[in-house]
């Protein structure tokens, strides 16, 4: 049985919260809720932004009040038919060059968990990850969950610039930075794959609900596939 609460975020946004912890069981529910609200809420809604356990509805505050929006969202979600929730999704492989040169936090993550660098890599590669959400930056796919033995807190102060393609860990989540951006996750490697391509109709190689597996590659293969780095481009 699906349950939720609608929280007020501000005069132009409410958030539907479906749970407190990350679980694959919420992925199809939140996707169905997003589709339903997209089809039925209509004018004045600016964005529907799904994440692991939440769905933000942002709207024009001159067109809707928070109370009215909260009431409509609650009423619409009552009609959600759980029998019709799908579980489709493709399997996608993302090649990664794991190395301290492009993964400046790799050794620290290993020390933090009292593992060798090779053990960190092996544990990161062995899992089929769910795409829980895309957000934070264009094409930034939140993947989970990493093994408990890799759960690592975010940096105390985010880096001002994380290079494109960086593969990163935070708590029990993992992701690839699709563009250069500030970021607070632990960097352990880099992929040559383009994670956000505006010339392609689907924009991103992964979609919410897909499965992802990371495949280790060598420095030579990284370069051969078009991967880029400069010595010291991230510290």
């Amino acid at each position: 049985m699906t349950s939720w609460v609608v929280e007020t975020l501000g005069p132009d946004a409410v958030m539907v919260r479906f749970g407190e912890v990350i679980t694959p069981a919420l992925v199809p529910i939140i996707r169905a809720a997003t589709d339903l609200l997209r089809e039925t809420l209509g004018e004045g809604v600016r964005d529907l932004v799904p994440s692991y356990t939440t769905l933000m509805v942002s709207f024009d505050p001159l067109a809707h009040s928070v109370n009215e929006m909260t009431g409509r969202v609650n009423a619409l979600l009552q009609t959600l038919d759980e029998q019709q929730l799908g579980d489709a999704g493709e399997q996608i492989e993302i090649p990664v060059w794991y190395d301290p040169v492009v993964g400046p936090d790799l050794k620290r993550v290993a020390r933090y968990h009292q593992l060798s660098v090779d053990e960190v890599i092996a544990r990161h590669c062995v899992v089929d990850y769910h795409v829980f959400a895309i957000g934070f930056a264009p094409g930034f796919a939140y993947l989970g969950e990493t093994p408990e033995a890799l759960a690592t807190p975010r940096l105390d102060t985010p880096r001002a610039k994380v290079p494109v393609g960086s593969v990163a860990l935070a708590d029990r989540q993992t992701a690839v930075y699709p563009i250069a951006t500030p970021g607070g996750w632990n960097l352990i490697g880099r992929t040559p794959m383009t994670m956000f391509d505006r010339s392609r109709p689907q924009l991103c190689p992964v979609a919410t609900g897909d499965r992802v597996r990371f495949v280790p590659i060598s420095r030579a293969e990284f370069l051969a596939r078009g991967g880029r780095f400069e010595q010291g481009d991230v510290v």
């Binding site: 529907l48 939440t54 959400a133 957000g135 934070f136 094409g139 939140y142 607070g184």
Partner: protein, 299 residues
């Protein structure tokens, strides 16, 4: 019909085409972007009788020189950057008429950070994913869709429209950007993330705006208000959200914010106050004050 408009002689440190933002793509991670100070942006279009979403220029800090290629009516709002036409000073917060061959120059901000320059009818620029809003980090929007700031030699196409009567913004709507900023804060419903003591510390601290602030977020320096939790399950971020990383220093998330984030949030500031914050110069004083949703919705 469009033929020429404003030619960029000097682009200044950061001059961006903006509108009200790029909506409908946050689920793919595209930042909404848009004018950092929507109050000043909306007045610029309103003075000219434009659509509220008409593309206009956001001039950061000043330093711009533009050559007028055809007769134009413009409106100038936001930061006072000592603009002049052919060396003759012109006032912000009103409309002006320019002749072909005029040079419109901006000095540097003596109060505020961002000036807005609108033309009658709005700049005639093709939207990129529904908006011209320039998000440089994402390489989105702007004159050619590449997210680039204005550069020397760019030409901003202006539509051929009839001028309106000259207008000035009533003085009560013109903010004084030199005053300390007070951010009315709507506390998050997730109260457990911060202690009462942390909240009290937030309200009594006179923060300074960090020079590391940008269109993505205003970083504050002062007393720390660390959360009880280090990270949360990443969730969507509304405009004006106040997130607190483990170093305890609050960041107010503005127009170019990321769509989803995993730092705990202490609440959301009133949109009008977040616009004022975008006009605060580094080192400026910023305070928080408690507010309710009703207060935030009223304006």
């Amino acid at each position: 019909m469009t033929s020429g408009g404003l030619k960029v002689i000097k682009p200044g440190p950061l001059t961006l085409l903006q509108d009200l933002g790029r909506f409908g793509y946050q689920h793919l991670g595209l930042s909404p972007g848009g004018a950092a100070d929507e109050h000043a942006f909306r007045w610029a279009n309103r003075l000219l009788g434009n659509d509220p979403n008409a593309p206009a220029l956001e001039v950061t800090l000043g330093g711009v020189c533009l050559l007028v290629e055809r007769p134009l009516q413009i409106a100038l709002t936001g930061a006072d950057q000592q603009a002049n036409v052919n060396g003759r000073p012109i006032n912000p917060w009103c409309t002006h008429t320019l002749a072909e061959g005029d040079r419109l120059q901006f000095g540097f901000s003596n109060s505020g950070v961002r000036a807005y320059l609108a033309v009658r009818g709005g700049f005639d620029v093709a939207p990129c994913f529904g908006s011209v809003a320039t998000v440089t980090r994402e390489k989105m929007g702007g004159l050619d869709g590449s997210g680039a700031p204005l550069k020397e030699g760019d030409v901003l196409p202006c539509p051929d429209t009839r001028a309106v009567f000259g207008r000035t913004v009533p003085s009560r709507f013109i903010p004084d950007y030199r005053k300390p900023v007070t951010l009315r804060l709507m506390i998050s419903e997730r109260r457990g993330w911060f202690s009462a003591a942390a909240l009290e510390r937030l309200y009594r601290t006179a923060y300074r705006l960090s020079s590391r602030s940008d269109r993505m977020g205003a970083r504050l320096e002062g007393e720390t208000v660390a959360s009880r939790v280090k990270g949360i399950v990443s969730e969507p971020i509304p405009f004006g959200a106040v997130q607190v990383p483990p170093d305890g220093l609050p960041i107010v998330l503005l127009k170019d914010r990321q769509t989803i984030g995993g730092y705990p949030k202490i609440g959301t500031v009133h949109p009008l106050d977040a616009f004022a914050l975008a006009q605060c110069q580094p080192g400026g004083t910023v305070r928080f004050a408690p507010a309710t949703l009703e207060e935030c919705q009223r304006e």
